[in-house]
């Protein structure tokens, strides 16, 4: 779950990480009101979850009411790489002496938390990692020990920041580690972390991604979840509790199991089609879940055919087939459906489906032939 910059800053502030005074605005008048309150000069920043905001003209300095009015007016509604700006963050402008980079994330390979700190901030860390890997000081933190003061100090020393920044950076990194762990973040990144001419260290940006599995212990994350960018299909699927990812194609996909659903998306591409989505319905026999999945796919205007790919494990083929038949009786589906049913009691399941076959409901003996048929029904020429 990715946070917007303003949410990330509010999140950091709760852990005592210094951020600039500011607030969100959804209209020009609100932006002016924030600017008057925090004092000029201010920076007006587009709130979108995509890189390159500055280059796109989504970040502007304003010295007066008039300038805030102009910039907020231009930025609100702006299209940045397909993301429309609905919210701006207006904050007091900071004097910058130096720009650094700091982050924590999980190193899945080392199975420890990875902290990265660099004197080269304000640019993409991937670029620094490629061009000048030695400029990034890394620390692997064992989650059982946590980040100690001594290890934080050694880490900061290794990054060769301006000595004036040492104390402030150590303090911020300890707080950032707390925010990252106690807040169940997948990523907590400050870029740039700035040293001001006055000697203070300060988070000028905030990039935070939270672990959706931790929602049960962070009741306040509901608010973040509500502002996630989802297209209409993803919103509907999310409301139904389905594991759904929207794609661009015309073949709707329903499968039981994340691996099988990914595999189904792959095989449609392999035979020359374009999948409309990824959708994992889990166990596979529940008629209500199947009906919900079919509704979401049916509401996607790009869908021309639907590929239901079920492998029965514990769930028997006849239960799966009955679930599909019941679901089809409860929702009216526009596009033709191709079913591949295999696994436990597949023959019994196929026998049940055989009584309901038509132009709109077809069956195929295996994944490959089902994928080809679905692509054909979507108007494509299968390979």
């Amino acid at each position: 779950m990715d946070l917007y910059e303003y949410q990330g800053k509010q999140f950091f502030a709760r852990f005592g990480i210094p951020v600039s005074a500011g607030d969100v605005a959804t209209t020009v008048d609100e932006a002016v009101a924030v600017a008057e309150r925090v004092g000029y000069p201010v920076v007006v920043k587009a709130q979108v979850q995509v890189g390159g905001r500055g280059k796109a003209g989504g970040i502007k300095l304003a010295n007066s009411t008039e300038e805030v009015r102009t910039h907020a007016g231009n930025i609100l509604g702006m299209d940045i790489k397909g993301h429309i700006v609905h919210v701006v963050w207006v904050e007091v402008a900071s004097d910058i002496a130096e720009e650094y980079y700091a982050s924590f994330t999980l190193d899945r390979s080392a199975k420890k938390h990875l902290g990265m700190l660099s004197a080269q901030g304000g640019v993409e860390i991937e670029t620094v990692a490629e061009e000048n890997p030695d400029a990034i000081a890394k620390i692997w933190v064992d989650p059982v020990d946590g980040l100690t003061d001594a290890s934080a100090r050694a880490w900061v020393a290794a990054a060769k920041l301006n000595p004036a920044a040492t104390e402030g950076t150590v303090e911020i990194l300890k707080k950032l580690y707390r925010a990252y762990t106690e807040g169940d973040a997948d990523l907590a990144e400050i870029n740039p972390l700035i040293l001001k001419p006055t000697g203070e260290v300060h988070a000028l940006d905030a990039k935070v991604s939270l672990d959706a599995n931790s929602l049960y212990r962070h009741a306040d994350y509901e608010a973040y979840d509500a502002t996630q960018v989802r297209d209409q299909r993803e919103t509907e699927a999310h409301e139904k509790g389905l594991q759904y990812v929207g794609l661009e194609g015309s073949v709707g996909v329903i499968a039981n199991g994340a691996g099988l659903a990914m595999s189904t998306v792959d095989i449609i591409n392999q035979v020359g089609g374009k999948p409309a989505n990824f959708l994992d319905i889990g166990g596979g026999s529940n008629a209500a879940v199947m009906a919900g999945a079919l509704e979401v796919i049916n509401n996607d205007p790009n869908v021309r055919s639907i590929f239901i790919n079920i492998f029965g494990g514990i769930t028997k083929g006849e239960e799966v087939a009955n679930g599909i038949v019941q679901a089809l009786a409860s929702v009216n589906i526009d596009s033709p459906i191709v079913i591949r049913l295999d696994g436990t009691n597949a023959d019994e399941g196929r026998a049940i489906l055989a009584g309901h076959l038509s132009e709109k409901l077809q069956m195929a003996p295996n994944m490959l032939s089902a994928a080809r048929r679905a692509v054909e029904l979507a108007g494509g020429t299968p390979k």
Partner: protein, 294 residues
């Protein structure tokens, strides 16, 4: 032979009295697994169709000699459940529960490694493990696996594992052990742990591996195969056409910052001499070829 679990494994179910724990505990027992107990502090002294319920893992171990545990506790209780199992004397823990926060997984992975280096954790968010004909712990449908050998299976995906077992059974090919390591970011048991065990198991002659996008576990496995494995391996990697930045159902299945792509994983495995299938059926067909030519 088999790896990690066999006919001598005595299993308890943490969460036996819940609906999932009860269903799979009984299914596993019906398969022939030596199911010796379950835990629930509020229901100690009762039983689930003859399976005794104990107050704690320690009590269950001292009463039954259990050496394995299967966890069906809801996600908020998993961290404590895993530690309770290890502290109670369990040697093999299979955690089926999905939705466990990644920070909890990272914590108990490191805690186990430090304080209980001989305890093996499988999962969380995994289908479990089956040594066909001997022991089935978790949610795998036992009847789709043919006992014996010569194939060992290790997989990050549940349904694709079932498919692999089924396709091998259709070809009358047996399986020594099938391990579902799960799709989360910090799996307790890795591909390499399983590959090493299969390499050492005399009855396993070939290994089938099913991976997914995200992380670098498959690349690390490829390095291991290249340097330490004499047995042939076939593999399939799901998610080759998944868009970057999107979690494909499993918390760990995400391509981010250009890392964790199926392409890179397939290339690394191919370079290690692994036969790659572009879909699960093709990987299964490769395995059939490999077994026929053993």
């Amino acid at each position: 032979m088999s790896i990690f679990v066999d006919e001598n494994t005595k299993v308890i179910y943490q969460g036996l009295t819940g609906s999932q724990g009860r269903y799979y505990g009984l299914s596993n027992r019906a398969y022939g697994t030596n199911v010796v107990g379950g835990t629930n502090p509020k229901k100690a002294g009762t039983d689930v169709e003859g399976i005794p319920v104990f107050a704690s893992v320690a009590d269950a171990v001292s009463a039954t000699g259990a050496n394995a545990s299967c966890i069906f506790i809801p996600a908020p209780g998993v961290r404590d459940a895993v530690m309770e199992a290890a502290e109670g004397g369990i040697q093999f823990i299979a955690c089926i529960t999905e939705g466990v926060p990644a920070h909890d997984e990272a914590w108990f992975f490191n805690k186990l490694q430090r304080d209980f280096p001989n305890v093996r954790l499988l999962g969380p968010n995994c289908p479990g493990i089956i040594s066909p004909g001997k022991c089935n712990i978790g949610i795998t449908a036992g009847h789709i696996a043919k006992p014996g050998g010569p194939v060992g299976i290790v997989s990050r995906s549940g349904t694709l594992t079932y498919q692999a077992l089924y396709e091998l059974q259709q070809q009358d090919i047996g399986v020594t052990t099938c391990v579902g390591i799960g799709g989360d970011p910090v799996p307790g048991t890795s591909f390499i742990d399983c590959l090493r065990a299969f390499e050492a198991d005399p009855d396993t002659k070939a290994v089938m591996m099913i991976g997914e996008i995200g992380g670098s576990a498959e690349e690390e496995a490829a390095e291991f195969i290249k340097n330490h494995m004499s047995k042939p391996v076939s593999a399939y990697i799901a998610g080759g056409t998944a868009p970057a930045g999107k979690k494909m159902g499993h918390a760990g299945a995400i391509v981010s910052g250009g890392k964790g792509t199926a392409q890179a994983k397939m290339e690394a495995l191919q370079d290690a001499g692994v036969r790659i299938g572009l879909n699960p059926t093709e990987a299964g067909a490769h395995m059939v070829d490999i077994v026929r030519s053993l």
